[in-house]
Amino acid sequence: MRFAARVEVRLRPGIADPEGTTIERALPALGFDDVRGVRTGRSFRFQVDATDVETARRRVQALADRLLANPVIEDSELEVSLEPDSGEP
């Protein structure tokens, strides 16, 4: 079975995010003076082949922990779902 995975990686709370801060500082000039707490991150999307959703989730979690995120400074959040056109009934 084929699963669609999305991993979001963000700087952990307490780690300065100069990109987020810079964006937030620019917003009032564009009329968005009601926006607070801007934090940046990255999103990774890929497919993973596995026998079931639990296995797929474990593989994605392992990939996120080992490579996509550096646990010293980053948190990750993941979503795994069956690919609609994976050919399975």
Binding site: L11, I15, A16, P18, E19, L67, L68, N70, V72, I73
Partner: protein, 226 residues
């Protein structure tokens, strides 16, 4: 025989020849080691020089850590071999878990390329051995993700066990506790953001980097002599 230092080259490394030149002036013989190498037994010491290993994609050092040579560097370090990572090399060592902490983008999102003054804090590391604590050295930095971070516990441990070997006098990047260089517990693995190999002659603005490179070469010779 001159001390033999392996200078690791990843795709995207760009300070390897400066490192070779610096090591030569400091009295060692440098040899380039391609990142697919799995054997470092003929080396007395290892330098991971600066640059953009594997394009710095994902995070600086994140992909370099999986190059075959890093397993060999890990074994070399575990056996007490002297290893120093400069700039991008420091980032690689943290990603590989050979040194604690991590790097984020500089304070103010500015790429910094400038001379900095660092103070030698402790002298039990392979790159500060024999120097006087408090010695000030003028050495350039050249980085975008040079702001060192670690959690409170790690910082407390680094301080308590004298692993902060170099501090900036005028912190150029927002590094926690003005940290410019650290060592592991044993002192044989060192990472520093300033580039000593770019400060080896007054013509380059400073020759202060030689003090560190000479210390590194001497301590490497001592390790070899056992």
């Amino acid at each position: 025989m001159a001390t033999r230092v392996g200078v690791v080259v990843f795709p995207g490394t760009n300070c390897e020849h400066d490192a070779l030149a610096g090591l030569e002036v400091a009295g060692a013989r440098g040899t380039l080691v391609w990142h697919t190498e799995t054997q470092l037994r003929t080396m007395d010491a290892i330098v991971i020089p600066g640059g953009f290993a594997h394009g710095d994609y994902l995070r600086p050092g994140a992909l370099a850590r999986f190059s075959p040579v890093m397993e060999a560097v890990g074994r070399f370090a575990a056996e007490g071999g002297p290893v120093v990572g400069i700039c991008n090399g420091f980032q690689v060592l943290t990603e590989a878990g050979l040194l604690p902490g991590a790097f984020v983008k500089n304070r103010g999102l500015k790429f910094v390329c400038a001379p900095t003054t660092v103070r030698v804090e402790v002298t039990h590391s392979v790159i500060t051995a024999g120097l006087e604590p408090g010695t000030r050295l003028c050495i350039p930095v050249n980085h975008f993700s040079g702001s060192y971070v670690c959690d409170e516990r790690t910082l407390a441990h680094l301080r308590a066990s004298n692993q902060v070997i170099l501090r900036y006098l005028d912190n150029p990047n927002g590094s926690i506790d003005d940290i410019a260089g650290i060592a592991n517990d044993a002192g044989n693995v060192v990472g520093l953001m300033p580039h000593p190999e770019r400060a080896i002659d007054e013509l380059l603005g400073s020759a202060d980097g030689l003090a560190l490179l000479r210390a590194f070469v001497s301590s490497s010779a001592c390790v070899r002599a056992g």
